[in-house]
Amino acid sequence: MKLELRGITKSFGPLVANDHIDLVIEPGQIHALLGENGAGKSTLMNVLFGLYQADSGAILLDDEERAFRGPGDALAAGIGMVHQHFMLVPVFTVAENVMLGHEDVKAGGFLDLEAARARVRDLSARFGFGLDPDAVVEDLPVGVQQRVEIVKALAREAKVLILDEPTAVLTPQETDELIEIMRQLKASGTSIVFITHKLREVKAVADVITVIRRGAVVGKAEPTASETELASLMVGRSVSLGLDKAPAKLGDETFVVTDLTVLAPNGQAVVDRVSFSVAQGEILAVAGVQGNGQTELTEAILGLIPSAEGSIELHGKELRGLSPDAALDAGIGFVPEDRKVDGLVLDFTVAENLVLDLYDKSPYARGIALNLPEIRRNAEHRITEFDIRTQGPGQEVGRLSGGNQQKVVLARELSRPLKLFIASQPTRGVDVGSIEFLHRRIVQERDNGTPVIIVSTELDEVVELADRIAVMYRGRIVGFVPPTTSREVLGLMMAGVPYDEATAQVTDQTDTTGATQ
């Protein structure tokens, strides 16, 4: 089925999210939609899927104009969507999830679960998904849950499959498997719209690449284009992807964590006897798939959540048991993983957010009176220093773009002398241009002699920033490796395979593929 979008325009008030977007998706083609966060990719797909009505423009299927009043219409027309956050009922089985919303019924109104099971088995066999129709979804790994979503779409005879940032939640291995699945679907004639901002994946799988910036199509590219070219198209100016950083000059190991254990409310250890140390002037990057205890580790260090046992020492001083306030006073700079939830008060101004953890200290306060001129002066200074694009210190932070919001958080945390700097997902949802800048600032802090801990699920970021990598899996550190370690080995370690085994497996694979060629 050929899908064509013609002149799609969608605005929210004065904000034009999609500006006359034209897009043609040929049958059996993998069409990558590349753009930064907020470029309008998701809005466009929500229009296509019937969640939004376009202000103008048309959707054509096989050259016939169609109007979608809701997702139901889109599904009926053969368009399926796999959302970034899965729309599955965790306590239902795979078959039940697949039949949900268009249940087959037997005589007498009984559910025909057998038909759904058969359909799952059939599709699973055809594409080699290896799905058990009776497995309960919440017991399945994320990558397999995603396949359930794909089967859900295929079971409704989707001819066009929209994948919205499908790799965000996957390990590198699972990503490879997904790419394989996409190729198979393509071979069977399904068209795929692949939404992403990850250049490597686009190059690996796409037939055609459309780049969207600020709500408009800014260009098409061949998969052969270099990553730098693609990044420049996305950002609208030339960017350098590599980070020049001098070799680390290691000082004393001033930050030492020993046997730290954090328990979840159900008593399970989410951080399990973790020990490591970071030297002054060193960046330790904690790699791992989301949800393997990295978040809890950083929160326990700051005292946001209690730790069950172990010790956290900074310059010989025990931090465990301190309140966040005391931990910040001890010299920790902390960039939380989700800036909108933990990092910023969105309806506070830029100036207020820049002193969120210093508001009651000199010079920003005199007694209990705020020193507004000083708070403003600080804001003006940081706005220039960090190149925060804002209308001024008085603008609400919630109105800034993601990258600029993140700059506010980093500017705040780096604006005082630090003994330890912790940043979780420092560039999540940040545009490519700002990533470059934020990375440089983090390295600069390292070069000032601060021990730095970076937690990131993006392997690119980990490899780029780290002087040493700690890989976490199910609350434990699988191993410490240098940043020169190959991606395959890192990927296996992120799935819990120890370093030696992972290296052995990767060497084996290279050997066998080498033999067949």
């Binding site: 907020g38 306030d325 008060v345 009176a369 949802g429």
Partner: protein
């Protein structure tokens, strides 16, 4: 309204995509609605008031006997009907204006302006207590127990006023302080329980209202609180040394309490926008998670916010007894504590807004009584108008829909279910 209109980000880039649904969406939605209701734009308030007056007018028309009579021959003489309707509404509302603001039919200016001074007198405790409720709102706490705090403030402030003997100025200040401490303590109980055990402040403060009500009723049966030799549930009169002085002489009830209300409004403005306490209160109210990550004590903030909120309500009670009532009775708080919630909503939780909202609300009450006396229109119409104003403010999308105003922010559904 302009401050709520969508402004494209400074960079000219499209707005960031909707926050990823990491936390339960209903929590976020409730928090946003709570903020919108309690601190939303001024324009909606004015339109809500206009709308309520229009509907109130329709009710006056429907219930007016002359209009009903004219309606029976509507098609024969439509002019009669519309004339009667117009005169019913304009008579009622102009009587309300005469009673609340200025009686232009009064023989002397002093008699005319008396209406306004009455409105100011009635508004005094409303404004002060509403400031307390607003401090809670700004910090994300719903102090629904202002009524109990007003009552406790009146009881303790009044006790200092009638039981102690002190030199003039000192006596008044101590009596006011007694009210402040009593109200702060009373609300502090709810704040402490929330911080320590997570008990919801709405439930606790509602229950504390009853405790305060019956506690004061019991006070009034003890010899410490009743007049010697009397078993009436009424305390002795507040001594002259502890009374708030009258501002305009004996002809008017207006007293220095009104100045206290103005000072309280200035204080709350300073506290919320110029002090580290207010910074912390607002941060905790707007995003407790971020406040905690930035090292602010969220639990201790709950206690402080409730104490400040209750202290203001207690001050309102003390001002009421020391300025207007002069003696403690079980009904001294009237419905001040509950009306204060309405006034805080009307004033959008901002001190200046509350000042005018308090005057407006008091004016409706005072004017409503005058309207009932002069035109026979039931004062219940005023209650309807007041209730409608709150209803419309609590549903800003409704007002926006009626007046076709733009929504303050585009609602971006990301990853909505199929």
């Amino acid at each position: 309204m302009t401050d709520q209109q969508p402004v494209p980000p400074a960079t000219g880039e499209p707005a960031p995509e909707a926050p990823r649904a990491a936390k339960p969406a209903s929590d976020a939605r409730w928090a946003a609605t709570f903020r919108e209701i309690t601190t939303g734009p001024f324009g909606v308030t004015v339109l809500a008031f206009v709308l309520a007056l229009v509907i109130g007018g329709l009710l006056i028309i429907v219930t007016d006997p002359d209009v009903t009579a004219a309606a029976s021959y509507l098609f024969a003489k439509p002019a009669d009907f519309f004339g009667a309707a117009w005169s019913a509404v304009s008579d009622a509302y102009s009587a309300m204006f005469r009673g609340a603001v200025f009686n232009y039919e009064a023989p002397t200016f002093a008699r005319g302006i008396r209406s306004l001074t009455e409105t100011m007198t009635v508004s005094t405790p409303l404004i002060i207590a509403a400031l307390g409720v607003a401090v809670g709102f700004r910090a994300g706490l719903f102090n629904i127990g202002a009524q109990g705090q007003v009552l406790m403030g009146a009881a303790i402030g009044g006790y200092v006023g009638f039981a102690w003997s002190l030199p003039p100025v000192l006596h008044l200040l101590l009596a006011l302080l007694g009210g402040v401490l009593a109200g702060g303590f009373w609300a502090g109980i709810a704040g402490f329980l929330k911080a320590r055990t997570g008990a919801h402040e709405v439930i606790v403060t509602i229950m504390l209202n009853y405790v305060a009500l019956y506690l004061v009723a019991w006070f009034l049966t003890t010899s410490a609180f009743t007049r010697p030799g009397s078993n009436q549930p009424k305390s002795p009169g507040v001594k002259d040394t502890a009374q708030l002085p009258l501002l305009l002489g004996d002809q008017f009830r207006l007293n220095a309490g009104f100045l206290v209300a103005i000072l309280a409004a200035v204080f709350v403005w300073w506290l919320m926008s110029r002090s580290t306490w207010g910074f912390r209160f607002r941060a905790v109210g707007s995003n407790p998670q971020a406040a905690r990550t930035a090292g602010m004590g969220v639990a201790s903030s709950f206690v402080l916010v409730m104490v400040v909120s209750g202290a203001l309500a207690g001050l309102a009670g003390a001002v009421q007894i020391l300025g207007t009532e002069k003696a403690l009775t079980g009904g001294i708080a009237g419905s001040i504590g509950f009306d204060a919630i309405t006034v805080a909503l009307l004033g959008r939780s901002k001190p200046l807004g509350i000042f005018f909202a308090g005057l407006l609300y008091a004016g409706l009450n005072v004017g409503g009584r005058a309207m009932e006396a002069s035109t026979g229109t039931s004062i219940n119409i005023v209650l309807v108008i007041q209730s409608l104003v709150v209803l419309f403010i609590a549903a800003p999308p409704l007002v926006r829909a009626i007046f076709r105003l733009p929504a303050p922010n585009p609602v971006v559904v990301k990853g909505a279910s199929a």
